[in-house]
Amino acid sequence: MSWNEFIYFAAGSLLFWISGTVALYRLRRSLTGELLIIAGLLLFSSFIALLWDYIGHPPLRTMGETRLWYSLFLVLVGYVTYKRWRYKWLMAYSVLVSSVFIFVNLLKPEIHGTNLMPALQSVWFVPHVTVYILSYAMMGAATIASAITLSSGEKRERELLPLIDNLVHIGFGFLVLGMLMGAVWAKEAWGDYWTWDPKEVWAFITASAYLIYMHAHYTKISRREALWILPVAFILLMITWLGVNYLPAAQGSIHTY
């Protein structure tokens, strides 16, 4: 099974995932939707397995191949989190982001010729980046919810605060996983788990801003006041993700992506 057949598997999986998500929203019982999503996951994994067999090594070498794993993991983790928390929108969100990666793979395959430098060729690469993306999704949702709460009254507050706290804690769980996988990887690749590289500094800043939010109830800061931390933390997160390379302190970072 080579990349030429990817389009059939991709289209099939997307069809399963999208109809599954729609079914979750439309039908009273979730079984149909869940079965569709699982069918999509199986179809997509079988492409990876067949491709693996065809090329004779784990498909982790090119950008196109790593995007294959993103697409799978996003939906998989989205589904597992949905099972636990029943957030339908999260399922929809992971399908959406996953389909973006699938479309990139269809339109701009980079299936050969992308030169992954040796240090990036690690089993940690895919999970490290994937859990970060999941964390960003959670934190993004928490930020939106905090903005809604801050601009409305008491009633919304009672309703949304538990949701916000859930999102931040789940998002922080993924954030920590991403950081630690990065640390283990760095140790294997460079001999040091933390070098205060600019991207690492900003990841640290972001994490500690969220930690302040998570520990804020121990101070006399009210829950409503503490919500202001979230938009600030999200800006820091965006700097970590997208902005670091433009900062003067970041010239010569090992994180070029």
């Binding site: 804690h169 922080f172 788990y193 006399k220």
Partner: protein
Amino acid sequence: MGGQGKGKQETALVEIIIISAVTIAGLALQFVIGPLDFGILAFPVNLVLGLLLLLLIPFKFPKSIRRFGSGRVSVTLLAIVTLMAIYMGVVPGNDVKHSWPFALIYLMTMVNLALAVGKRVRKFNLKRDHGFMLNHLGLLLLLFSAGPGSGDMQRWFMTVAEGATEWRGERAGVNEPVELPVAISLIDFSMEEYPPKIAIVNKSTGESQPSGKPVFIESTDGNSGIIAGWSIQIDSFIYRPMMAPSAFISAKRVSDGEMISGRVSCGNIFQQFAILDIDDRFCFAMTHPEPQKFSSQVKVYTKEGEERTGIIEVNRPLTIAGWKIYQYSYDTRRGRDSEISVFELVYDPWIILAYIGIGMVMIGSLTLLIKGGKRE
């Protein structure tokens, strides 16, 4: 939950004042002594420090000490450390991580964690506290091994020629070889490269065409493609040891059928590069091949007589007697014909503790995924 009473507000203020005073004392130390040399934390200093931190866990200290284990104090510490990190992330060329204020806040964070863990240890309830314990005790172990533990860390670079055995290493930037407790004998260095690529280049700017969205064609036998209106065929590609990669290409302009053919090569220290002119502004050229994988087949010895053979490559270090040996570099001018390999040797006796900490926090973060924001 949050301390509302006036008494609590005052204690919070006292704590903030004390923490600020420690930070300022750190600044004073910084001016008097200069940056903190992590070497002073080397064994046995870090061990003693670690034991002292450990003592904070089982024993119930007077209130004046215990208060530094509160969640309130942790927020103050986190706020200060965030500000320091922002300085680190914004101001170029700073050395905050080796500064005294940073080290003292780091120390107080460890104290805070140890006291908080201690409080929960004394009234431990597995169902309620397992997540807290994994996260905070794990983080404490990690902070300890990455901080004071790094005082024992040694890093050396070793350059070994194929067929030779080397005992001597050098520190980064210091040109004084020192005999190390491990030796490396390099059996073979080998390297795989991505194929070089054919491009159309603007001769005066060096920019690959089409401008802004360059297209490249991998230089492999028989490959073909289109760049900026030229249909290009790689007729043959030759890359022998001690030679530069070179390709014979034929190109046809799609619009008018004009043909150009000839040899292009990126050149290296063995041979000159070659380009193929299109006109006086553009030419066909070849990019340098990029490394895909480089590895060293080695035999490693220790002074104690241990021996191990293996292959070391990027992301796959070899471990022997507490040392980890990393593939670091090679003779980049000779590329895959390099006859030497450069290794980095890292000795980090606290690494196991660090991995235990990392493992605990990883499992701890899974509890966050399952429990969410529910208060205990």
